[in-house]
């Protein structure tokens, strides 16, 4: 790839960008030049490494040393020690939470060592803006094989054997989808990539596009070959500017190399890809809405059938696959469907990418084999809950999904098993919540989101979720009544049965799943007018329990409105006339003494 003695793979993902990786890169480059090392040491800005919790991060290749939390002021010391004297710098190594041990090599850090990289196999390893680096890692080998050595039927067959299922959420078998579109009569067909990632808590697709855009293009070329399409579109949300920029570069380079355009690799097959940017509409991630949006209409879903495989974009046969699904395709073609299906559970094969966020130590992107218990995802890879707090639930699948409580944490990652416990695999957002989260308030929050994002076309979703939100707001404000839970359940059932699209049909899931596992929390809100997690402001008294108060004064110091009176060795007292109910004292009190 390069004649450099050392390559510094500096993460250039959105997460690291916002913690100053750009400034660090500039300082590092200057320092390398000043020390005469610029010839032999090259900085490569990679896509998202995944370990966003400790950014900016940098991998030193070929040694495999991993540095975290780098700052501009560290540059001279780092260059002097490691790159001039050959002594890796311990103070930038990863430190394990449990025993405070430092781990120098990336592959030994539990966050990485428990993962299996397939869709993300190039993340942090290649420069996403240089096509040669992708090609050096078997890039476009799959496309070449599909175009020159395989028939379209053979391509579809391998995808069927792999048992790959759609990674966007619903988990429909990809091979079957392709087979339907391939069998649909018609000269003009389309391959679409859904990069309109909008589920709260999901950022997998963005990271894949930022770190390995060519893998997605290659997946689309193979899909086009399978169904004989000549045009593809990537529908990407406009908020993902870095991803769009890298896709743009990737498409341009692929064209220059003859990998997109007319007569690809001399195969006689032609295919083009254009990017279409959304403009802030969550519902456009739904397949029929997405197609409407590309056609230039309001992005509203339409009933199915007809399914897109028969009548999709401009009523032509169309396949729509999510970013992660497509990123898996090239390796399946190179290594065969059976290779892909060799890991996983009976019905869920391969790996799944998750975006860990919320109350978890290692926030970031992870890829794990199917079948792994969710507990391992959160504790071994995610590093558990910060601040010694207790785990309460993990929300999977965004607004269509549900919460998994502590006693169901041994559920394996598997489409059917996760559905059984009332959540869905979803696109991969995993929001971890600790004991301080109120589940009723969380359900209210999701319903608020759905209300905002409902496109308004069908009544059950537009009006039904509004009624549910009103009920939830009532409960959180301490005005809940007997029968509210039953009303919520009745509304949820009707919406689930009668909404037009998948988003509407699943809109009530956050409520149903919290009712299933945290029903007593709803009841306590309604009957006792108490919020057990102490989050619903209207249900809090803002008083100090003298028996639990340790007289430490932390609440006094945190109060922005001077409503708390406290002296050393005395119990704090809150003056309600001055209190603005900002919750600062609740957040600061370590002894649960405020109620």
């Amino acid at each position: 790839m390069s004649k450099n003695r050392i390559q510094l793979m500096l993460c250039g993902g959105t997460g690291c960008h916002s913690t100053g990786s750009k400034k660090f890169e500039k300082a590092l480059q200057q320092e390398l030049e000043a020390k005469g090392l610029a010839e032999e040491i090259k900085i490569v800005e990679t896509g998202c490494n995944g370990f966003c919790a400790v950014g900016p991060v940098m991998l030193v290749q070929p040694e495999g040393i991993f540095y975290q939390k780098l700052k501009v002021e560290d540059v001279p010391y780092l260059v002097e020690e490691h790159f001039l004297k050959g002594r890796p710098v311990k103070k930038f190594f990863f430190v394990e939470q449990k025993n405070k041990a430092t781990i120098p090599h990336m592959n030994d850090i539990p966050f990485f060592s428990n993962q299996v990289y397939r869709a993300m196999r190039n993340k942090g390893v290649i420069d996403p803006e240089v096509i040669d680096e992708y090609i050096a890692r078997e890039g476009y080998f799959g496309a070449a094989k599909a175009l020159n050595e395989m028939t379209p039927e053979q391509v579809v067959e391998q995808i069927k054997i792999s048992q790959l299922r759609g990674r966007g959420g619903a988990g429909f078998p990809t091979g079957m989808k392709w087979a339907f579109a391939a069998a649909s009569p018609g000269e003009e067909k389309y391959v679409l990539c859904n990069a309109d990632e909008g589920d709260p808590g999901a950022f997998m697709d963005r990271s894949i596009l930022e770190s390995d855009p060519h893998a997605v293009l290659e997946g689309m070329i193979i899909a086009a070959r399978a169904i004989n399409a000549r045009q593809g579109y990537i529908y990407c949300r406009t908020e993902y500017q870095l991803a769009i920029r890298r896709l743009d570069i990737a498409i341009r380079q692929a064209k220059e190399y003859g990998l997109l355009g007319e007569n690809i690799l001399g195969s006689g097959f032609s295919f083009n890809i254009d990017i279409y940017q959304g403009a802030g509409a969550f519902v456009c991630g739904e397949e029929t809405a997405l197609m409407r949006s590309i056609e230039g209409k309001r992005g509203m879903p339409r009933p199915r059938p007809p399914f897109p495989a028969h009548k999709g974009l401009w009523d032509k046969p169309t396949i729509l696959n999510n970013v992660e699904t497509l990123a898996n395709i090239p390796q399946i073609i190179i290594k065969g469907g059976a290779w892909y299906a060799s890991i996983g559970t009976e019905k869920s094969k391969g790996t799944k990418v998750f975006a860990l966020s919320g109350d978890v130590n290692n926030i970031g992107l992870v890829e794990v084999p199917m079948g792994l218990p969710i507990r391992k995802l959160i504790y071994d890879i995610g590093g558990g809950i910060p601040g010694g707090k207790k785990f309460k639930a993990v929300q999977l699948g965004g607004p269509s999904g549900g919460c998994i409580p502590e006693h169901k944490l041994d559920t394996p990652i598997d489409y059917e098993e996760i559905t059984k416990v009332g959540a869905i695999m979803g696109s991969g957002g995993a929001i971890v919540m600790d004991e301080n989260t109120c589940m009723v308030d969380m359900a209210r929050f999701f319903m608020d989101f759905i209300q905002d994002e409902s496109c308004g076309k069908c009544t059950p979703c537009r009006e039904g979720t509004r009624r549910m939100l009103e009920l939830l707001e009532k409960i959180c404000h301490g005005e809940g009544q007997d029968g509210d839970i039953q009303s919520l359940e009745a509304l949820a059932e009707v919406i689930g049965q009668s909404a037009l699209c998948g988003l509407g049909q699943t809109a009530a899931n956050p409520v149903l799943s919290t009712l299933r596992f945290f029903r007593e929390e709803y009841e306590t809100h309604i009957k006792e007018k108490v919020c057990p997690a102490k989050r619903c402001v209207a249900l809090l008294k803002f008083e100090v329990n003298p028996e639990m108060c340790k007289k430490c004064g932390l609440c006094f110091k945190a109060c922005p409105s001077e409503a708390i009176a406290w002296k050393k060795k005395e119990v704090a007292v809150i003056d309600k006339s001055k209190c603005v109910k900002c919750m600062s004292c609740f957040d600061k009190c370590k002894f649960d003494a405020i109620f």
């Binding site: 959105t14 997460g15 960008h17 916002s18 913690t19 966003c52 919790a53 990632e197 909008g198 589920d199 709260p200 808590g201 999901a202 950022f203 963005r206 949300r237 406009t238 908020e239 993902y240 500017q241 254009d274 940017q277 959304g278 403009a279 802030g280 509409a281 969550f282 949006s293 590309i294 056609e295 230039g296 209409k297 309001r298 992005g299 509203m300 401009w314 975006a355 966020s357 919320g358 109350d359 926030i363 970031g364 992107l365 929300q395 965004g398 957002g429 929001i431 919540m433 989260t437 969380m442 929050f445 999701f446 989101f449 905002d452 994002e453 496109c455 900002c582 919750m583």
Partner: protein, 154 residues
């Protein structure tokens, strides 16, 4: 009147689209980038250029939350109000922004500098709580950082 630069950009977008309709959203964005928002007059100009009726184009413009059919401030703050950000302190960030700017969601500050809008998931949960000003993403944001961030925008 559309400027020559606007026309040229819209024509480039048209070359990638299979119909004038399909270029509608792109055209609105191109014009909005220069003018800040889409006034009735602007909408009519774009519609005329694309040979659509203003109503047809407006049906698209009003569907997408990032096409502004009302005047916005010189900079638009998109505050992520998704669940990941909520878990990580979105509510107190919102309160702080409201207090600092003297406006709520959908409003523009008196000096015309900022418009504050909620935005469901910016897809940057690893940095929660986050907000985006124009095209720049900020996070994780703590209250004391707000002043410094806002100072970057005239």
């Amino acid at each position: 009147m559309l400027s020559p630069e606007e026309i040229q950009e819209i024509q480039t977008a048209l070359a990638h689209c299979e119909s004038n309709f399909a270029a509608g959203l792109d055209a609105l964005k191109i014009v909005q980038r220069r003018r800040g928002w889409i006034s009735d007059e602007t909408l009519q100009e774009v519609a005329r250029f694309l040979e659509m009726t203003p109503a047809e184009l407006d049906s698209v413009a009003t569907f997408y939350s990032l096409i502004f059919r009302r005047q916005v401030g010189r900079h638009v703050i998109l505050l992520c109000d998704s669940v990941s950000c909520w878990v990580m302190g979105y509510e107190s960030l919102f309160e702080a922004l409201k207090k600092r700017l003297g406006i709520g969601f959908g409003q523009t500050s008196a000096d015309g500098r900022f418009t504050l809008l909620p935005h469901p998931c910016l897809g940057a949960c690893e940095r929660a709580p986050v907000m985006m000003i124009d095209d720049e993403l900020y996070g994780p944001i703590e209250e004391e950082m707000i002043e410094k961030i806002l100072a970057r925008y005239e």
